[in-house]
Symmetry: C2
Subunit: 406 residues, 2 copies
């Protein structure tokens, strides 16, 4: 029941990237659960990871491999099992998997970055994984983006992928990305798994900076349930096949590239929320006139995480008192409530801390009946703002998460 | 579907307190929705209130009346309407209500403390309230505690009341209390409405200190949904009728009194969680070996607020990975995960940051099948601890809160 999101029809291949997806038998459902990316020798790679202290074995290992002097060449991704909370054995399994893929592709293990997503606390089925890795390396091709988008899914109902082309230094450049995730979604890292690639030639430090900046307002600006995953990662690969003059922070084309990368990341991040577990609404929460960026984000997340606001959204109930109560408990020092205004789309519901004189239940109801709603909160304290995306809390969310392992 | 909680059978009257409850027509259901307490002239009164910035008109007015030089003599409580987010008119209505009760009881308006609970954002039905106030003052009696406990209910399914007797300075002293609340429950104040009375003779400053201390580990140690209400208040009245020598911080009997008051507050607070909206489990979360009290509380609330932990509890699913992920995202600086142990009752699930060697799904399942569960988290960082109570997240919670106003 994704909100305003359909299957992607075309994902453009990226020169310098081959990939494949198959069912290795990790998921009980028999659906695809193993994906491999292989990129050209000249490719540059940037990544951001979860800040959850209990990060999964593959996260720890991917960070270690990224820090090694060897250039990363491949991504090994499995769904259906998170390899998190699995201790020393989980780490050995992650290392072994990287070695298997490295052997098959004639790389060193340090050139493989591992990623896992799925149930926490169970060991990987290693023999299935080994057979899968052997088979998948025979299937690598430039045209497998769509099946890869499907292969990384867990509770997702729709594959998430975005492609854009731009011109850099006179060269046509492609940016394609896939993402997964619909539960255990909250910011403070690159939320969930996202893999983005471009054939542009981009300087390594600039690539990382670009990703880190953009993640802040895309993958780090979404929440389903406030629960930060142990496995989240976002990877950006630039293969340099497009032969544009190497892009760095001082290049004339910086704006063009970062604007488009931002669009790709925001569309993928929004796709995660549109397909959030049990979602029936796609909700934008914007807080403006805040005293600081962190104050704005804090108010936005307090509203977005409130189970009472989320159930009112599910019910299409313009119960604005719950929004007001959430703003009031967000812990802003000395909030002058008489300066607070709240809007549902363009309908003013709260003016100067109380119900707006022109507000009618009918006008609120009309907005709430929509599947896409924007809540705007003016704090009257300053010039800072924050914008995040979230979903509602439905029976389906409870059903999915109470039946997840059964 | 309250967990381990039945209707209170007896609530002991408190000498010096008369009370009454009736249906004034504020609730559509026709159930009792108006309660009045009248206490003796010598009575001393302490109170704590919500810290929500959007506090309701009656909260603001009760604070103002408490600060006036006049001794409080009466509580005027309505359920079915919160009189919150109602602006200047809401404040005028609260003032008018206090004046009506004051006139009927020959008091000044400043001697009446008003309390409201129910839907946010609607004006009080003033003519119904006026008739109700006129009628209720003719019904005041020492024996109406049980009907008062019912009269303050909103989505509660069971009335909540506790009585204890102790001996102070050779005099028999009674402490009786009632509370309401099952949604929009989170700490950082005296959560929800609770009214406690004793006939003990207690010095005013000490009474307030005693209440503030005890609220911290009772009403401020519970959460249903993390949503702090706009109307929460906890009131403690000491009528001094029992004729014990006035109790203050230096009295020999301090321990006896505060221990018993603590028991009353904890039982009422737990009753709120046992009757939490849609609750099927009563869950204790204790965090020990924390570096500070706030660190311990932060971890406890992060676990208790996690929708994923709460849906796993609802499903009786020993999905301990979700508890571990919640601990990991609680934002503890430099958490050494290898020092973290987690228990379900006495079953160790996580040892040194990974699954315990002796853990089996069967042992975890046995604990999760219970309706009362304790989660203990050892952080291995210090000597501080925190203990809170919470409920699970069920279909019934979503149903109640999506249908609340319909």
């Amino acid at each position: 029941m994704a909100v305003g999101l359909s299957e992607p029809d075309e994902i453009l291949p990226v020169a310098g990237i081959k990939l494949a997806s198959l069912a290795a038998g990790i998921k009980k459902s028999g659906q695809d659960d193993l994906v491999v990316f292989l990129f050209d020798e000249l490719a540059t790679c940037a990544a951001t990871f979860t800040q959850n202290a209990f990060c999964a074995a593959p996260v720890t290992l991917a960070k270690k491999h990224l820090a090694s002097p060897q250039h990363p060449r491949a991504l090994l991704i499995n769904s259906g099992n998170a390899n998190a909370g699995t201790g020393e054995k989980g780490m050995q399994n992650a290392e072994k998997s990287c070695q298997w893929l490295a052997d098959a592709l004639q790389l060193s293990a340090e050139q493989v970055l591992p990623f896992s997503t799925g149930v926490i606390g169970e060991q990987l089925p290693m023999s299935k994984l080994q057979s899968g890795i052997t088979l998948i390396t025979t299937k690598l091709s430039e045209d497998n983006w769509l099946s890869a988008a499907t292969g990384i899914m867990t509770t997702d109902t729709v594959a998430k992928a975005v492609s854009k082309t731009i011109s850099l230094d006179g060269q046509k450049v492609t940016i394609s990305g896939i993402a997964k995730g619909s539960g255990m979604i909250c910011p403070n890292m690159a939320t969930m798994l996202a893999f983005i690639a471009t054939d542009a030639n981009i300087e390594a430090d600039f690539l990382q900076q670009c990703l880190s900046d953009i993640v802040e307002d895309s993958f780090n600006a979404i929440t389903v349930d406030g629960d930060t995953s142990t496995n989240d990662a976002c990877v950006l690969v630039a293969t340099a096949v497009a032969k544009n003059k190497q892009l760095d922070a001082s290049s004339a084309d910086v704006e063009t590239f970062s604007k488009t990368l931002n669009e790709v990341c925001q569309q993928l991040a929004q796709a995660i929320i549109r397909d959030a577990e049990g979602a029936t609404k796609f909700v934008t929460v914007e807080v403006v006139q805040a005293g600081s960026k962190s104050e704005a984000k804090n108010v936005a997340y307090t509203v977005a995480h409130s189970p009472l606001v989320k159930t009112a959204l599910y019910a299409s109930d313009p119960n604005w008192g719950r929004i007001l109560a959430a703003v009031g408990r967000a812990g802003i020092e000395q909030l002058d409530v008489s300066g607070v205004n709240i809007f549902l789309d363009d309908v003013c519901i709260v003016q100067g801390g109380g119900v707006d004189a022109d507000y009618t239940e009918e006008r609120g109801q009309k907005v709430m009946d929509q599947s896409e709603i924007k809540i705007t909160i003016e704090l009257g304290r300053g010039d800072c703002s924050a914008l995040i995306w979230t979903s509602d809390l439905s029976h389906e969310y409870v059903r999915i998460n109470s039946e997840y392992r059964s």
